[in-house]
Subunit: 276 residues, 2 copies
């Protein structure tokens, strides 16, 4: 038996503009990222396939580096050919950026050791017709020093129960955040022309995130940045574990899932039985 | 009689992502940029209005600085208020960037003294889900030195009949091009991540352009850049005046109307009759 005749498990890195989709997850009568991938991969697998993601993204949320798993009963070509075969049938706003083969038991949720998100904010200036799908435009002024201090309060191991969206509660709401910071940026439109307003990117790295957590952190930090709440209020919200005390959920279009990390072991393939 | 009680004529600078529209011009049963503007301005005018553009852009073509004229029978507030009133009702992919009052007889086509277009090309690299609405991706390699030399051949006063699209023929096809050049660029996605492939912007300034002219110039230069035709072929095409000899029309999504120029006089308002 050849290695190529066994089922093979693949790690797909997927980028998408989430604007036109109901989110990652398959939903009846709606277009989702997952359903587009399953539609395209089905003929390659010769049967219906489940494409399992590292986590859901909501309607309007984008990804640069979402990770998904698919298992093909037989795939005799290499990973580049698989990437090309998938991309040739995907709509233009979804793209597989890389394909790697993994061990058979690779699980994109259970095996993930970390994720990075970014969230783009435009403060003031008019709405740009080219950039508005990818940024949350807010009124100013914003106290960036206060926002930076608010971000720092999320770093470390905390119970983020107050920042968990309803509808997907987890048994444990304690998560470790490795870094969280606001980065000023020069934002440009497609031709390179600078966009109006001040532009900031919130970048957060952590071992894992609760449902809607990043958008709830953003909504809460903006309350502080606008001077509606003092910095110490963040401590109170964290300590309370009460979603109702935190700020509103920021809109989806500023959010990008940038990276999902896995240990090297998931890419170490089991030796095939070479018995003939 | 107050100046504010007379009809007032306005110069609108309009930016749009043309992806979802049938083009600038009103077409039955379709969404156009012009029809969106007319729909929004009608209640401000109190009657149907015609919003006249500096020229048509095709389906999928974008603008950073299209110019349009509208006449309001009465507008008592300032231009900033007018801009805000229009923008508050426009879809997110169309935006009025500036409003200036003009003389009554301002004509956006007849008064224009120049235009600038840009056209974005990606050579190689995979399609980016965030950038694909705004760039024409082509296979490589491309000889940029040859493309640059081809561009230089269009500068000056020439008969561009061979580059005129069918369907909107003009009596004279002679136009003066002030500059035409390819500019290498670092292209980035919305989060600032660099896009794959080589990126080039073709920038052209001229007194005026024929229908589809820029896209036909691009398609022709790409023939030279890919080595399918020698540089001297450009001279033959120009001399022939035969559209069939030129290269194919490049796709619309890379094209941006960047600027339309007018002489200062159009912004000099006639003195109102102050007779009371």
């Amino acid at each position: 038996m050849q290695a190529n005749d066994r089922p093979r498990t693949f790690h797909l890195t997927v980028a998408y503009d989430g604007t036109e989709y109901c989110g990652w997850q398959v939903q009846p009568e709606q277009r989702s990222i997952q359903s587009e991938l399953e539609r395209v991969i089905r003929p390659l697998a010769g049967r219906p396939v489940r494409v399992l993601g590292s986590g859901r993204t909501d309607a309007g949320v984008h990804a640069i580096g979402q990770v998904a798993r698919c298992v093909l009963p037989v795939w005799k070509a290499d990973t580049v050919a698989l990437q090309r075969a998938i991309n040739s049938k995907l709509p233009n706003d979804i793209r597989v950026k890389a394909v790697r083969e993994t061990r058979e038991r690779f699980h994109p949720i259970a095996d993930a050791t970390g994720k990075q998100y970014q969230y783009l904010v435009q403060v003031g200036g008019s709405r740009d017709p080219f950039a508005n799908r990818f940024v949350n435009r807010v009124g100013g002024p914003i106290d960036h020093s206060a926002m930076q201090s608010a971000a720092a309060k999320f770093v470390g191991r905390h119970d983020f129960k107050a920042f968990q969206g309803t509808g997907a509660e987890r048994p444990s709401t304690v998560r470790t955040i490795h870094s969280a910071r606001w980065i000023p940026r020069v934002a440009t439109g497609p031709t390179g022309a600078e966009l109006e307003g001040e532009h900031w990117c919130f970048e957060i790295d952590g071992e894992g995130f609760l449902y809607n957590m990043v958008r709830n952190l953003i909504g809460t930090m903006l309350e502080v940045g606008r001077g509606k709440r003092p910095l110490e209020w963040i401590d109170d919200v964290l300590a309370s574990g009460d979603r109702k005390l935190a700020g509103p959920t920021a809109p989806p279009q500023g959010l990008f899932l940038c990276r999902v990390d896995y240990p090297d072991e998931v890419f170490q393939l089991e030796e095939p039985d070479v018995a003939e």
